[in-house]
């Protein structure tokens, strides 16, 4: 019995919320390529309906912060400078608008959505809204469709060579709602590294569609800001060609409400997809990683590594799925989601899923919640490391497996240094 797509119940409450939401969405009657895609996305929202707590994919996370028609998130988000010294070219998006000239890099065509959208045709149009729409097949993700419809800004990158110099996207905001939609197309044998930091809005919704062609490479690193007062919904939709590699890592050092979704379709043989995340949750913190990886080709590898350290009543959620289609023989799928609970008030809710229709596969998954290892804590303290510092060292120890997923050693060091400093500041 093959995989059956999940459809939500279109209850009256859902229809009401959807109508109220769509009242704020224009009808997009422009003739440009982007407006056509937006009109289609609007229609998807109307058809799927906005998410409600009763939906299967929203069991553990409150939908209201994301779907509230009149959000009261108005605070500015403090800017960070994590990747400033990485040698990357930088693009700044302030209050949802790209600032200044876009960088020129050999092997990369870098454009912004606001300028490119009015053209009649564009190289991004076979991807923009297309991967998102395809990602709705297995599980409905109406927030992503809404973002496609609403986003007026984003970065469009077409990589035609393997470019090691990273492209860094820095977000700053004075608050309010922001919708951003990026498209990354990586041509055969080309490569690109994307670094993201900051947040587009106090309530931000970001889509990133990534088309990785045969033999191509996509590396993605994201550090979200510390500010508690914000709501963030991220969607990444990726499509992988033969012998391509996809790697994405997200560090969430704080924040109130975060949902990171990733939908990765492995369509070419011998491809690799790694997605990892580490988060530090404190108090009114809710962090949800929802991942859906589909293996639809032979001899591919996927890894999901998520680590959450939670205290003072923070909540962590993980919903991770590996779907192996009938022809995806020799699949190697690995999934681990773990939480370190620093007190009894914090909680971790995990729903790991394997659904396998091929017979020659090796898939494993594990999910654990644990407390601090008292023996290790005593060992550190007996060497003179004070209690709070020892807990932080064990926090870093716990997160190490996720950080090791960052392929580039220098960037991994940068993330580790930022995390160490964040812990130091929190301790002081």
């Amino acid at each position: 019995m093959p995989f059956t797509p999940k459809r939500t119940v279109k209850s009256p409450a859902k229809l009401d919320l959807t109508a109220a939401t769509l009242a704020h969405v224009p009808s997009f009657d422009g003739l440009g390529w982007a407006d056509k895609a937006r009109a289609a996305a609007r229609a998807r929202v109307a058809e799927m309906g906005m998410p409600l707590g009763r939906d299967e994919y929203w069991k553990y996370t409150d939908t209201k912060p994301f779907t509230n028609v009149d959000p009261d998130h108005t605070g500015a988000i403090a800017a960070t400078d994590v990747f400033g010294a990485s040698g990357a070219v930088t693009i700044t998006i302030t209050n949802g608008k790209v600032q200044g000239e876009l960088p020129v890099v050999d092997g990369l065509d870098i454009q912004c959505l606001s300028a490119a959208a009015d053209a009649e045709i564009h190289w991004a149009q076979d991807t923009f809204g297309v991967l998102e729409a395809a990602g709705q097949n297995n599980v409905e993700r109406p927030l992503a469709a809404l973002t496609t419809a609403l986003a007026t800004e984003g970065i469009l990158i077409h990589a035609t060579k393997d470019v090691t110099q990273p492209v860094r996207i820095v977000y700053t905001t004075d608050g309010g709602q922001a919708n951003v939609h990026h498209v990354i197309k990586v041509a055969p044998k080309a490569g690109v590294t994307i670094l993201e930091e900051g947040l587009a809005g106090a309530r931000a919704s970001t889509n990133m569609e990534v088309a990785v062609a045969d033999g191509a490479r996509f590396d993605h690193l994201r550090v979200l800001p510390l500010d508690a007062e914000r709501t963030l919904s991220n969607h990444c939709f990726a499509n992988l060609g033969a012998q391509s590699t996809f790697r994405s890592f997200t560090l969430t050092p704080g924040g109130q409400m975060t949902r990171n979704e990733a939908v990765i379709d492995i369509n070419g043989d011998d491809a690799t997809a790694h997605i990892a995340g580490a988060c530090l949750g404190d108090g009114a913190f809710h962090h949800d990683d929802t991942v859906f990886i589909t293996h639809d080709a032979v001899n591919c590898e996927s890894r999901q590594v998520f680590k959450k350290v939670l205290r003072n009543g923070a909540t962590g959620v993980f919903q991770g799925k590996i779907l192996v289609q009938p022809d995806a023989q020799k699949t190697d799928g690995y999934q681990i989601s773990q939480s370190l609970l620093l007190d009894d008030d914090s909680q971790f809710l995990a729903k790991p899923e394997l659904e396998i229709y091929a017979d020659d596969v090796a898939c494993s998954h594990g999910s654990t919640s644990g407390a601090i290892d008292e023996d290790a804590l005593f060992y550190l303290r007996s060497r003179g490391v004070p209690h709070a510092h020892a807990i932080d060292l064990l926090t870093l120890s716990f997160m190490a497996e996720a950080i090791e997923e960052i392929a580039d050693d220098a960037l991994a060091e940068t993330v580790l240094a930022f995390l160490t400093e964040t812990l130091e500041v929190r301790r002081a």
Binding site: F378, L380, R381, S382, V385, L393, S397
Partner: protein, 256 residues
């Protein structure tokens, strides 16, 4: 208290917090500065428990008695305060800490102790020079310094790593809990050399061991026998030889 007493343990009674089991039943020990004391005793007699209670591990309740380091009561201190005051325990079973580099760990410990004592941090350069020199003496290579703390170390490597930490932290009261177990002959010599290099008039060692072999290399001034939570006999180095030759039966019989 004598002028040069380093560690004074009086009538120490300890039981487990979780269950009603009494482990130490009135331990008395007085260790002078500059001296090496050894404790031997049958399995389960309470040697490791004594070392844990002195260094502040949770799970034990002191129901009576006292322990003072250099005249200062340590039993109310946090483990890190005891370390900063100069107490060091080389663990019988060193703990593995994945994801934290051995070097990072050592540097954090050295600087944390300095901070607790109100001293300046050691510069990265000075630290590196010092740790390299001390590691070389113990034949600990650069790779072991980089690897996560004790992860994948052999039993002997873990014990050498304990001695490296001791050499870096320069405590005045060193407790070694079966540091000789799991060591091959050459490693035991290395460890003994490491310990002997640290011997000084201001530093005291309490060496817990089952074997005379270690005491051939680290010559003790006093040997104590612990049985059933008490020190039942103390004497010179010849006491260790007696144990090696005859076991504990005679000694236990004498007391009974």
């Amino acid at each position: 208290m004598k002028e040069d007493t380093m560690l004074k343990i009086e009538n120490l009674h300890v039981q487990l917090e979780e269950e009603d089991k009494v482990i130490l039943k009135g331990v008395n020990l007085e260790l002078e500065a500059g001296k090496v004391h050894a404790i031997m005793g049958p399995n389960g007699s309470g040697k490791s428990t004594l070392s844990y209670v002195l260094s502040g591990k949770d799970g034990y309740e002191v129901t009576d008695g006292s322990a003072a380091l250099d005249g200062e009561d340590i039993l109310e201190m946090e483990p890190e305060e005891r370390a900063a005051a100069g107490l060091f325990l080389a663990f019988q079973y060193p703990v593995e800490i994945p994801g934290v580099g051995n070097m990072t760990f050592l540097r954090t410990a050295v600087n944390a102790q300095r901070k607790l004592r109100g001293e300046d941090e050691m510069s990265a350069g000075d630290f590196l020079k010092l740790v390299r020199a001390k590691a070389k003496d113990l034949k600990i290579d650069a790779d072991m310094l980089k690897r996560p703390v004790n992860v994948g170390f052999s039993g002997g490597e873990k014990k050498r790593n304990e001695i490296l930490q001791m050499a870096m932290l320069e405590p005045k009261m060193c407790i070694l809990d079966e540091t000789d177990s799991g060591l091959d002959v050459d490693a035991m010599k290395l460890v003994a050399q490491g310990v002997n290099a640290l011997r000084s008039p201001e530093r005291t060692f309490l060496v817990i061991t089952h074997y005379q072999r270690l005491l051939d290399h680290i010559k003790p001034d006093v040997v104590h026998i612990m049985a059933d939570g008490k020190i039942i006999k103390s004497g010179g180095p010849e006491l260790a030889i007696e144990v090696e030759n005859n076991g504990y039966a005679d000694l236990l019989g004498e007391v009974a």
